[in-house]
Symmetry: D2
């Protein structure tokens, strides 16, 4: 076999911090703004705390016609703009086997049983708080070292969000507001675009809202041919780090887009790639959704002028997981 050169290694010095028995890095400080400690020192669900029963009850009253939208991408076809290897889907048993005398139930009982092998963030998804940290810390000061191959996420696992993201969702159609089919690659969405779209639509963003930002990017990417150079770029429009204070000031519970990274790529302020994720996940404990398919919903909202609805999205409660596929349901 051909020799595989070792990857260079720069040496290692132990960090200078300690971690207490709560799993917190002693002396760690978050960025600004942040929600560390806001819901208690042991909080592990961040802005999901904003999804109060009262708000959910109020949001359910938004249901008028009962028309509903699944905002998920199908799992199987290539994911437009996806970062990860495509899911594998296998039939351990297939009903057709029975026709060939090969199934477990014999010819009389054709039976299928299928499996997936998939990155939990390979398709429409929600980030867990173990997904991205900054320096040694995750949300609320938990230590990044709590997430390992064998322990999984010892704190902040996605299963903490099992009760789901439920409440009032508002679609902000930034693409339509700016009069384009899709925002440019690298276009950063800041407070002006968010406020502008809300004003144009006549909606207000309130505490505990789930904000869905339509950029048109997913639909554009879906239309590209496989060999189009743009099909491979990871550049995309998205939420700017300039919008972080806005998200915090409005007490948004979840921000989601029809892009792979939610944040603009590359960042529009010259910061490193993951800085936005650190501000959103680590500092705010903000729920982040990605690869939401907002095309049909956006068209419907443009048609009837109603941009709000009742939203339910429940992750797979993988214990110690750091993300989950999501099939979000938006009901008008």
């Amino acid at each position: 076999m051909r020799d595989i050169p070792d990857v260079p290694f720069g040496g290692w010095d132990p960090p200078e911090y300690r971690v207490d028995t709560d799993g917190k890095v002693v002396g760690a400080t978050p960025g600004t703004p942040n929600n560390w400690g806001r819901w208690g020192a042991d909080d592990q669900i961040g802005t999901a705390n904003l999804l109060s029963a009262e708000r959910i009850a109020a949001a359910a009253a938004l249901v008028k016609t009962g028309k509903r939208f699944s905002l998920a991408l199908p799992i199987g076809p290539p994911t437009p703009g996806g970062y990860r290897s495509e899911p594998l889907h296998f039939y351990g048993m297939a009903a057709g086997d029975a026709v060939l005398g090969g199934g477990p139930g014999g010819a009389a009982f054709p039976t299928s049983d299928d499996y997936v092998v998939m990155a939990l963030q390979a398709s429409t998804q929600i980030d867990g708080f173990g997904h991205v940290g900054g320096d040694a810390t995750l949300y609320n000061g938990y230590w990044a070292g709590l997430v390992t191959a064998s322990s999984r996420a010892r704190r902040l696992g996605i299963h903490k969000l099992a009760a789901g993201v439920v409440g009032r969702a508002v679609l902000l159609d930034v693409a339509r507001h700016l009069g384009v089919e899709h925002l440019d690659l690298g276009f950063g969405i800041g407070p002006d675009e968010l406020d502008g779209a809300a004003a144009a639509q006549g909606v207000a963003i309130g505490a505990g809202d789930i904000v869905l930002v339509h950029t048109g990017h997913l639909e554009w990417k879906r239309g590209l041919r496989a060999n189009d150079p743009d099909a491979r770029t990871r550049h995309e429009p998205g939420i700017s780090i300039r919008a972080i204070p806005w998200l915090h000031d409005h007490d948004v519970a979840m921000i989601a887009t029809d892009t792979a990274a939610c944040q603009v790529v590359p960042p529009d302020d010259g910061t490193p790639f993951l800085t936005w994720h650190v501000a959103a996940l680590r500092d705010l404990g903000l729920l982040v959704g990605e690869l939401f398919d907002l095309h049909e919903l956006a068209a419907d909202c443009a048609a009837d002028g109603v941009h709000e609805g009742f939203f339910v999205a429940a992750p797979m409660p993988v214990v110690g997981g750091s993300g989950s596929p999501l099939n979000p349901i938006f009901i008008k």
Copy 2:
């Protein structure tokens, strides 16, 4: 290596039927009762057709307090009573790697990315209509041979249910009604128990309802030690084939239990193991849920006397899949 004897093979004669270009077995007939053709010859979603916008709008009005329940089992711990190999959960990257200088984002950006390998029906789940057929046919007369390893489910894929199961759910607490912690293994729930529980609770089952039957079995099984012989039995209480006409007469959209098979095991009428599944899935096109964790919900309903709520459960839209994990959300 030790010799592995070939499995015996009984020979094979080709079937006598043909399959038309719609994928239907020519001349196939369903059992009684059935919904074949009721929603069109090309219908692939069965009783999900009953989940109309009107009914969803009416069901949303059931939300009073906003209190919500996730009815999912956690994915990771052994599944009580599960039939399938346990899910595998892997971290392709773990945030802790960054502490060791090993992560893709360097020390500054600890990043996690995880994968699952799982049977789509390994935990709380919904059956797809490719899951079980009878003789050569699946729901609505589609051919069992449409489901193969390479083609996946060419019709009736779980992705057809992407819009989710949304509507009014009613918990029928058969265990409490009968005054037991959990029903006996092999106890078949028929019309009498369903009507009795409904009457005792003062609720009526209507068209398009999602019926959740609490047997107490899951909670009992969860409490067993690993080496308890009962921990391995597949016998369990469940819905009897005697309840099939009741489910059809009431136009129930979904039936789900806190057991692995939904149906009683072994069948209480001496029919083969999968006969109930054939009647429910193939003939009625009935949505079937399994391994719903109803313990906390049942206790809450017993406490406040409210057994109905708004229900949202959206499968992973695996194209051509025959089942899906589910995290059902029940909101009062």
Copy 3:
């Protein structure tokens, strides 16, 4: 979710043949030449029958210096020219976890345990006889329908080859013989090139030999940049269908190349893509190896003039499998 159109279906008529209790299609006939029945009606290992103890003993005497070559590609880096999704490699436990207090053995016993998810033919590999058939049959008349998702290969499983491919191997360096670094895409290697290379090297091919044909293609492909259009083509040089009688006449036990398909792609005689595989696997029961990394071995043989050696390659004995990764060892 966006609607996923159903794939068209052309209807289905049952085949006219029967399958007997041996798993043979009644009345099936192979192409010419073929080895059906040569080693008995129930033979499932084809030309592996040629790897007799006597030949192995004779081949071991070829070992002179003890210098050895692994002909495998590494598993992990992208496979040059591979047809299948890349293997996934996961650490369920990583020794580094112990440094973070997260491993199962505590800090004192750092422990690693890793998993692969891989297509059995994703890297250097051997075809099983369930891999490709023609019409309804596999090697020796076994029915293609014996291979299903739930039954795996009920006959002809790769585990039948557990004893490995062991014997005399001869490298035929067709690229050097023709004076090129690598053969052109679509170049079909026929009897003339095989005989020519053998004559130039002064070696003779005998019964039971393992023939390794160096085309230079793998090395060329490895050198391409990822965005080179040639990196994606499946066209490659390889063994022509014109060589099938030659392989049969010489009673070759195994044919392997440094290409993904062994056969030339596209076929040089205008036949459908898999016709060569049908002739080799189904008719001859010939062992076929693919993606063998012959670059270093070929250079060594050119340098010392010795093109033969002792060869040992043992598949993973996956019961009912249709292929296996292989790490072939060639010893001089």
Copy 4:
């Protein structure tokens, strides 16, 4: 969903050592005996260094009859005594699909393509040097922290052993020597048993030898019924820590047994479970094989009195892996 309590966490203090740019823990010292530095400071293959070309050439001369044995367990049936979840084997395409009009090659070209999901140490296998370390170090002083989920084994990956384990193998039949079908659970094999068996067999162990120790345990375990309490125990006979100096003094290249752990379980000297592995893997850099099926080979050696042969076993060269399934071939 039921609440999942957080696992307790004991806090974390950074280690006091540094790691140099070679990946070595500064100031680390091995146990006694050890091979650290023996083959250079950057050695990553341990006793595989003993498998010299000269020894391989000499070993090939042991081949007399050409009779060969695969020492692998089949992959698919439950692994007797295995520690890990059973491999999953899936057909992404099955030849039978073509009979149903569902295959990629149409009816004319039935095609199969299969996948495995497996722990690299789930069946007959070889340990990599990333598998077990002691305190912060792996073999030759490399840092345990070099193995992480995202980096895989940055040093000491199993791919370093791609050239395989090739040389003279000697079967030491300790069970027959002691006159038992199988050694007792917890029976530790020390120098006396090894020397005794060798003397009884009339063989000598020399430098670079591959030593296969037959305990009879695997065959006994294979014969147990699934519900036999012994079927679940991890206790087994195996190599004692008392044999470590013997293995070192004889310059054994590889030690392998027909047990799951190679070492005796529980340890016969009261040390912690993995102490033997630390001595073998970390200190000696000794190749360790497990779950070798020696039953047929042992019977053959007893019958013909020949206990030595030529041995070839080549791991799957998973880059950065810490173990590999193995199909070892022993040739007389």
